[in-house]
């Protein structure tokens, strides 16, 4: 509901929200106080400036408080010992950092060398394996070539058939329990 409209619900005073309103208030219409627009403008502008001033003042006071804190911290009784201790600790920290850096660089260097070695090894292994594989394949190829000479092709077919038919081979043999083999049989 707009601010310049009538207030439909009253703010709670002595009665609770469950008490009925009085009979004399049955026809009461509560309107908010009238607002003069130009006065409102003027007042808004004044508020803006006022808040600007206040924030500037607060900043100033804050700066003063921090200044006081800082100089209280500086002018402590044992500030000299604290400074000296601080410097000692910083130097020690620097040393530790340097030491760790050296160790870390050492480790990284070693790891890189290891990696290089591993890579070389791997490459060598690969090359070797490739070589053996190629040689195997070469041998295979030569063997096949050799075998191909004795293959039967459509051109050799007739000749080979003639040759087989001309030279009958007898594969029969006899063997006894002592293991003596006899190749000469009744058929040949």
């Amino acid at each position: 509901f707009p601010a310049w409209g009538p207030r439909l619900l009253p703010a709670r005073g002595r009665k609770t929200r469950y008490d009925p309103p009085a009979k004399s208030k049955a026809s009461r219409v509560k309107l908010p106080p009238p607002v003069d627009p130009e006065e409102l403008l003027v007042v808004t502008e004044r508020y803006r400036q006022h808040r600007l001033l206040l924030s500037a003042l607060r900043a100033q006071f804050r700066a003063e408080v921090l200044q006081k804190k800082r100089e209280a911290l500086l002018s402590r009784e044992d500030s000299a010992e604290l400074q000296e201790q601080h410097q000692r600790l910083m130097a020690w920290n620097e040393q530790e950092n340097a030491r760790q850096r050296a160790r870390r660089e050492e480790r990284i260097r070693k790891e890189e060398e290891e990696e290089k070695k591993q890579k070389l090894q791997a490459a060598e292994n690969k090359a070797r394996k490739m070589e053996t594989f190629l040689q195997e394949k070469e041998k295979e190829v030569l063997r096949l070539q050799e075998e191909a000479r004795t293959f039967i092709t459509p051109e050799n077919l007739e000749a080979r058939i003639e040759e087989c038919l001309d030279n009958p081979r007898n594969y029969n043999f006899a063997i006894d329990k002592e293991g003596r083999i006899v190749k000469r049989t009744v058929l040949s």
Partner: protein, 154 residues
């Protein structure tokens, strides 16, 4: 110290430091203490520090007396304390919102050089507005009764 900074023995959630008036005194005899306290505390409850007092009733010479601890006020404002409306109005400085001054007028001098009552912070806008309204109403009343007086007499 039992607590430091913003830790209270009663655990509140949120809230901030305010400089406000705590009411004391007896029936028909109020008395305000200007106090820096947490916003969630009771009005007259435990506070962080008392920064002054205000007697709202005029004394034998017709003055309304107040006392302020400006040093601690500055400290608390620097620590980020808010002000309640009446506290702001009390600490206002005349001259920042004169009737002839406008937003274009440059402010000469720092407000910190002025001290004393109504001299610590810039004047609150509602103080000036209230004064203007009062003046206007008094002017209207000065015009209206003579106008009513002469026709009423007839």
């Amino acid at each position: 110290a039992l607590f430091a900074g913003s830790r209270l023995l009663k655990g509140y959630r949120g809230g901030h430091v305010v400089i406000r008036f705590a009411l004391g005194g007896c029936t028909n005899r109020p008395f305000f203490r200007i106090v820096a306290a947490h916003s969630r505390r009771a009005r007259d409850g435990k506070y962080l520090e008392q920064l002054g007092c205000l007697d709202p009733l005029p004394n034998a010479h017709g003055e309304r007396v107040a006392g302020l601890n400006l040093e601690r006020l500055r400290h608390w404002l620097g620590c980020g304390a808010q002000l309640s409306r009446p506290a702001e109005k009390l600490l206002g400085r005349p001259g920042a919102w004169g009737p002839g001054w406008g937003p274009a007028t440059a402010r000469r001098g720092s407000p910190l050089l002025l001290a004393g009552l109504a001299g610590f912070l810039p004047l609150h806008p509602m103080t000036v507005t209230g004064a203007e309204r009062l003046r206007r109403r008094r002017g209207q009343e000065a015009v209206a009764p003579p106008a009513d007086g002469s026709p009423g007499a007839r």
